[in-house]
């Protein structure tokens, strides 16, 4: 399960006249491919905002399009739609490979893009791009992270150009029944207690 790839964010800026390096889709797909090759999952769930905007499919390079198709041949790519990509992989300029759903119920789990406003047991969502800032004697570091209270899970953004929102931001308040745990990404994943997390 990966969230918030924001493919073609660079070209969205370019379309408005700011020529950011066009390598973000390539970089993000490199990462995704590495994960799929390592884990060999039967189903890969894209948890929404896989594309940065509605016209991303008109801008995506043919070889990146083909790479997505290649991934879809290895694993079932399941696109959950998000606020940035309400149509999922569907497009008048040619669909990208994969299945589409608004949300999925899976036994006791609910997989959706935007977390529901109240504590929701079994929910996994993205949308918020959580980031953890940790300080200690060893210093201060800001990393993308998972956030969970054991009941629900919010995933970090996966895309190369996706920014992050500090988990101490008010946008996260009220989502968890008890102080959640942040699992910060690094060479390995590091679980960090709420009390050790700092704001920006």
């Amino acid at each position: 399960m990966v969230a918030d790839l924001h493919l073609e964010k660079g070209s969205a800026y370019a379309a408005r006249g700011q020529m950011l390096p066009p390598y973000d889709t390539r970089e993000t797909l490199d990462r995704l491919q590495a994960e799929i090759e390592a884990l060999d999952p039967r189903v890969t769930v894209l948890l929404g905002d896989t594309l940065h905007d509605g016209s991303a499919t008109t801008r995506i390079a043919p070889d990146d399009r083909e790479r997505i198709a290649g991934l879809a041949r290895r694993t079932t790519l399941l696109w959950i739609t998000g606020n940035h990509d309400p149509d999922g992989p569907k497009s008048s300029s040619g669909d990208l490979a994969g299945e589409t759903a608004v949300e999925i119920g899976l036994s006791k789990l609910v997989l959706r893009h935007e977390p529901s406003p109240d504590p929701t047991p079994g929910e996994a969502a993205g949308h918020l791009h959580p980031c953890a800032r940790v300080k200690g004697t060893a210093g201060s570091v800001r990393r993308r992270c998972f956030v969970t209270d054991g009941q629900r899970l919010i995933l970090p953004a996966f895309g190369a150009y996706a920014g992050g929102l500090n988990v101490r931001d008010p946008a996260f308040s009220g989502l968890f029944a008890c102080p959640p745990l942040a699992v910060a990404l690094g060479k390995k994943a590091h679980a960090v207690r709420w009390g050790l997390l700092a704001g920006d």
Binding site: A14, Q18, L20, Y23, R26, G139, R168
Partner: protein, 781 residues
């Protein structure tokens, strides 16, 4: 100048400060405008005056209005700077003044106007003031491109340049224009009366404050009407100001002026100065340029001047009149500075100046200019190339680089050609390039300019909510030299650098006893190559020592007897053990920046060689590295091989923050990142974040991208002084003399004191003095 005006020739006037340069530059225009009489046709700018300082443009407006009013001339003079109100700017567009006074940034904006060509069509004269202060910088590149543009708009305009004394007037003349080679050399003023202060107290072995001489400085201020006290850093300025006020029993009006004071505070000081209300101003290079202060009759240079040209500029601030000798006193802060000050005084007496190297124009600046041109009017690729090459910094621009820059402006210039649909500038069916739409042009105009102000970062502890308590502030460049984990001294304590976050440098208290990186307080300008070679010559010639105070002579003799003196063209290296540490001290005299780069690269190499280097210090004269194990077995010829400028430099750069910062500046100038968006100004935290993201991605996927090349070139040129280091390494090849000593040498004492201050913070002043006395005893015995 009037004769050159009648000949209609472009001309550079080189004259010492106080010679009335600015008025001479305007005189032909005033005559022309007075003779022309009132006109009925549409108004247009007759003379455009460009100054590197906003304040100077406003000052000249005031000075120029006096004769115009007194002679009742029908001439309208107005200034236009970033501070000019919108209404006035609008009016100037519709009804241009006869003489318009402005800055390089405003000229760049003019160039990006629609209708710029028509506005300047009838321009008769362009006056560029203080050329010596601007030509060798990115702002100079931008100005030079603007001048080439004006030449195109107004082929009949005369270009007039005004410069203080420079070592190579011909090169500066070429920078001004490629039409003719007319030069007017002003009569040299009365030679300045200079002396080096030989303090009653002994000359300190090390330091930058000249605290030992502060009593004498204060007494000297009392003898003058108004004194300007120049120092090299903001930190020295604060220190000297406090010291002088501590001594100020007479309550003299002594003020402070430096770049990190607020504009309002600075203006207040300037106003009081102009009214003659101040007895002394402690200032940094912010007062180097030619604003007229009237009554200054004494200039004091506190700590060594680092270059003879800068010294001439500063001395010229006293008695701003050609026929009266300027009076100046140099106050060296240490023994090496004593040598440097004597060398500088001799150089100025011989009128020998250190020159700025001729600059190759930066491509990020060219990109900004090309975009500006497109915003103004459609351009032809070949025609604009020809125009750009009339600007001296771009005279050698290859067609290939030109196409790369235009491609960058249009699509970002990436190896992956995926943005061809989103061009910022497009080539029409008529073959001309034009800006895509008005929105793109508007955004460009909001971001014009080449001054990226040096940022200061707040030193902060990590906090519970966000960054914690603020400890102080320091220049960004200091942290650019560090990698996370490095330790340094600030405010007498040792700190560990954790990283940069936005505009904060996060630090924690470190338990280390020995910091790895030296603290600052040194000049931001390194010792000039020219002055360095004069210092080396002076050292190696005992007959030149007679001008030096006895204690400094004794020191040189002891160095000669106990070790040896650095020669004119060799490199002296000393090794010795002290305490439980092994030291290597080298004396290249090539300036702090080149020495810091060298020390960092040597430390990497010594680390690989298993010597276990612990830290280093570098100043303008020498560098010292200390280690756990002995360096006796080191092959110094191999250690100083030039190949260190290859892989070792690359590897170190990749780890350093410096490249990210340099890249950010290039990306801002080139317009890849916009500082200002319509409606709101991006704060620097946001800019920092997105620039880092872009830097990382580009480095992985497009390492040869134009902006990465720009950033590498800038880092090598300015922040690392790689060129100078390269020259040093080739100069000393096969000429390294190693002295393996039993104990510390007299020349090594200053470095050891610097190390001592940083190794033992918190120890009492008394203890430190005893330790230093023991060190001196050991070296001189």
């Amino acid at each position: 100048m009037v004769a050159k005006g009648r000949e209609d020739a472009d001309v550079l006037l080189v004259a010492p400060t106080g010679g009335g340069k600015t008025l001479a530059g305007f005189l032909p225009s005033l005559i022309d405008l007075a003779e022309r009489g009132p006109r009925n046709g549409p108004k247009s700018v007759h003379t455009l005056y460009i100054s590197p300082l906003k304040a100077l443009a406003v000052d000249v407006e005031r000075n120029l209005m006096t004769p115009v009013r007194e002679m009742d001339l029908p001439i309208v003079v107005e200034s236009r700077t970033g501070d000019t109100g919108q209404a006035r700017k609008q009016r100037q567009r519709i009804t241009p003044p006869d003489i318009l006074l402005t800055t390089p940034e405003q000229l760049a904006l003019f160039c990006a106007w629609e209708g710029a060509r028509g506005y300047f069509e009838d321009l008769r004269c362009v006056v560029v003031d203080e050329i010596h202060a601007i030509h060798s910088s990115k702002r100079g590149d931008l100005l030079s491109l603007g001048l080439a543009r004006l030449r195109q708009f107004a082929p009949h305009a005369r270009f007039v340049g005004l410069s203080a004394t420079v070592d190579d007037p011909v090169a500066v003349r070429r920078w001004l224009s490629d039409r003719g080679d007319d030069l007017v050399l002003g009569r040299p003023g009365a030679p300045p009366v200079m002396e080096v202060l030989l303090s009653e107290n002994r000359v300190p072995w090390a330091g930058h404050t000249a605290q030992h001489a502060m009593d004498e400085v204060y007494e000297t201020i009392k003898t003058a009407t108004t004194t300007l006290i120049f120092v090299n850093t903001r930190w020295q300025a604060e220190f000297a100001f406090q010291e002088l006020w501590r001594l100020n029993e007479d309550g003299l009006a002594i003020a402070l002026h430096h770049g990190s004071l607020s504009a309002e505070q600075r203006r207040k000081v300037e106003a009081r100065m102009a009214k003659g209300e101040l007895r002394a101003v402690v200032c940094t290079s912010t007062l180097d340029l030619g604003i007229d202060w009237g009554a200054v009759d004494l200039v004091i240079q506190l700590a060594a001047p680092k270059g003879s040209s800068r010294l001439v500029q500063r001395i010229g601030r006293a008695n701003h009149r050609l026929d009266e000798a300027s009076r100046a006193i140099l106050v060296p802060a240490s023994r090496f500075e004593m040598l440097e000050c004597q060398a500088a005084v001799e150089a100025v007496a011989e009128n020998a100046l250190d020159g700025e190297p001729i600059r190759v124009g930066a491509l990020d600046v060219l990109a900004q200019h090309v975009m500006g041109c497109a915003c103004s009017e459609p351009f032809d690729l070949q025609a604009l190339y020809d125009e750009v090459r009339r600007a001296a910094p771009y005279a050698e621009l290859s067609w290939e680089d030109w196409e790369r820059v235009v491609d960058f402006v249009s699509t970002g210039g990436y190896a992956l050609k995926s943005y061809d649909r989103y061009r910022r500038i497009v080539r029409g069916q008529d073959g001309l390039w034009r800006v895509r739409n008005e929105e793109t042009a508007r955004r460009h105009r909001m971001n014009v300019g080449a001054i990226i102000t040096a940022q200061t970062l707040s030193l902060r502890l990590p906090g519970r909510h966000g960054s914690g308590r603020k400890i102080g502030e320091a220049e960004e460049w200091f942290f650019e030299q560090m990698t996370p984990g490095d330790t340094f001294v600030f405010g007498g304590e040792i700190w560990r650098f954790m990283g940069i976050e936005g505009t904060n440098a996060i630090v924690t208290r470190a338990a280390d006893k020995e910091p790895k990186v030296p603290s600052w307080g040194m000049s931001k300008f390194p010792l000039s190559t020219f002055l360095a070679s004069r210092v080396r010559r002076m050292m190696s010639d005992p007959s030149a020592w007679s001008v030096l105070p006895a204690d400094v002579q004794e020191w040189l003799e002891a160095q000669r007897d106990h070790s040896s003196l650095p020669g004119i063209d060799d490199l002296l290296i000393e090794t010795f053990a002290r305490g439980n540490r092994h030291f290597m001290v080298a004396y290249p005299f090539e300036g702090r920046i080149a020495h810091s780069t060298l020390a960092m690269l040597l430390t990497r190499r010594l680390d690989r060689a298993g010597v276990g280097p612990i830290g280093y210090v570098a100043n303008d004269y020498m560098l010292a590295i200390w280690s756990v194990k002995s360096m006796d077995g080191v092959d110094f010829d191999a250690l100083f091989e030039q190949d260190m400028l290859g892989d070792d430099l690359e590897a170190w750069l990749d780890e350093s923050f410096m490249m990210k910062r340099t890249f950010k500046d290039c990306a801002l100038i080139a317009g890849l990142i916009e500082r200002r968006m319509p409606g709101h100004e991006k704060n620097s935290r946001q800019v920092t974040f997105s620039a880092d993201l872009i830097y990382d991605t580009l480095r992985r996927h497009d390492p040869e991208h134009l902006l990465l090349q720009c950033a590498r070139a800038d880092a090598a040129r300015g922040l690392l002084d790689v060129a100078r280091l390269g020259e040093l390494l080739s100069r000393i090849r096969g000429r390294i003399r190693v002295q393996r000593l039993e104990r510390v040498s007299p020349f090594a004492v200053p470095a050891m004191m610097e190390i001592g201050r940083e190794r033992a913070p918190g120890s009492s002043a008394a203890e430190m003095m005893l330790e230093q006395a023991a060190l001196i005893e050991e070296a001189m015995a």
